[in-house]
């Protein structure tokens, strides 16, 4: 990972992957195969957490959001898998995806202790932080570091989805806080 650091920030019992790019650093550390693994991992862990939200959440908005996460992240992963096959690229695990997976395990461990309104608040707070972090990673790491034009284009296509998820999560956060 070179000079790039991925830390875990813990707050309110939630853990999100956080990207820190040194001012002197350029996003050149990840290969395209590693970027592909990060993208697939980021989608998979959020879809998996959404399944937990369908089981334990209470608010209809939260459940609708969770269904959207499953649909959208699954759809993006299908497109990513098709592209990887076309490009004959096998996604390669790396520190970034490991960090994302560790954060997801910790988030899940905290969320499974909660139910109902408490779950809704914690889940949506996590989704806000997670999507903000992923959006930052797309802009500051994944798109700049990607060499293949089609993979870069896929990331640019996915960015509005992540931004829309973040916006919607923030809206729901206002309602579940009441």
């Amino acid at each position: 990972m070179g000079r790039r650091t991925f830390g875990l920030l813990s707050g309110a019992g939630l853990v999100v992957a956080c990207l820190a790019v040194p001012a002197t650093g350029r996003a050149q550390d990840l290969s395209d195969a590693q970027v592909a693994h990060v993208a697939v991992t980021a989608n998979t862990i959020d879809a998996d957490l959404a399944k937990l939200a369908l089981e334990r959440g209470r608010s209809s908005d939260v459940k609708a959001f969770a269904r959207m996460m499953i649909d959208d992240h699954t759809g993006v992963n299908q497109k990513a898998a098709a592209l990887a096959k076309k490009l004959n690229v096998t996604p390669v695990a790396n520190d970034v995806s490991a960090s994302l997976e560790k954060g997801a395990r910790e988030a899940r461990a905290n969320l499974v202790k909660l139910t109902g309104a408490a779950f809704d608040r914690a889940y949506i707070a996590r989704e806000v932080e997670y999507h903000a972090a992923v959006l930052g990673a797309i802009d500051d790491l994944l798109i700049p570091t990607t060499q293949n034009g089609e993979l870069k284009e896929l990331l640019k296509t996915v960015r509005p989805a992540v931004a829309a998820h973040l916006e919607r999560a923030r809206q729901i956060q206002q309602t579940v806080a009441q």
Partner: protein, 139 residues
């Protein structure tokens, strides 16, 4: 007398040609769903026109009338859905999965029809009517 017949024939021919040319054909408008937005955001159509939605995103979307009048149902990536416009199709619509995606269908008045079932209106009046209906976005 000969000159009068010639003038009358010329006028009749001109009126016939004008009526034929004035027929407003039904049109197909295309809305692309791309990067979580309906493009164009506003469609101005006439009754009988067709609007076709094409999902260019990698995730499912819908085009769902906010007043419940019509609904594309789930559109998978590259999925399409078309609707023949009726007068009551006008209004805002959203993606049911992503309610922050919003757009509008405007429906004007059709003074003439490509199907020959509407009354004909002289061209200048039709142009004014079309202008007032804001029918200017054909794709």
């Amino acid at each position: 007398m000969k000159a009068e017949w010639f003038v009358m024939a010329a006028v009749a021919a001109a009126v016939t040609a004008a009526c034929a040319a004035d027929v407003q054909p039904v049109r197909t408008h295309v809305v692309e769903i791309r990067q979580f937005a309906f493009l164009p955001e506003t469609i101005s159509a006439l009754p009988g026109d067709t609007i076709r939605w094409i999902n260019r995103d990698p995730v499912p979307h819908t085009a769902t009338s906010s007043n419940g009048g019509w609904d594309s149902g789930r559109l998978e990536a590259e999925g399409e859905w078309a609707m023949v416009v009726e007068r009551d199709a006008a209004g805002d619509y959203v993606c049911a999965y992503h309610p922050n995606m919003r757009a509008t269908v405007q429906v004007g008045r059709r003074f003439r029809s490509g199907r020959g079932d509407a009354k004909r209106t002289p061209r200048p009046f039709a142009a004014i009517a079309a202008f007032h209906d804001g029918h200017a976005d054909d794709v």
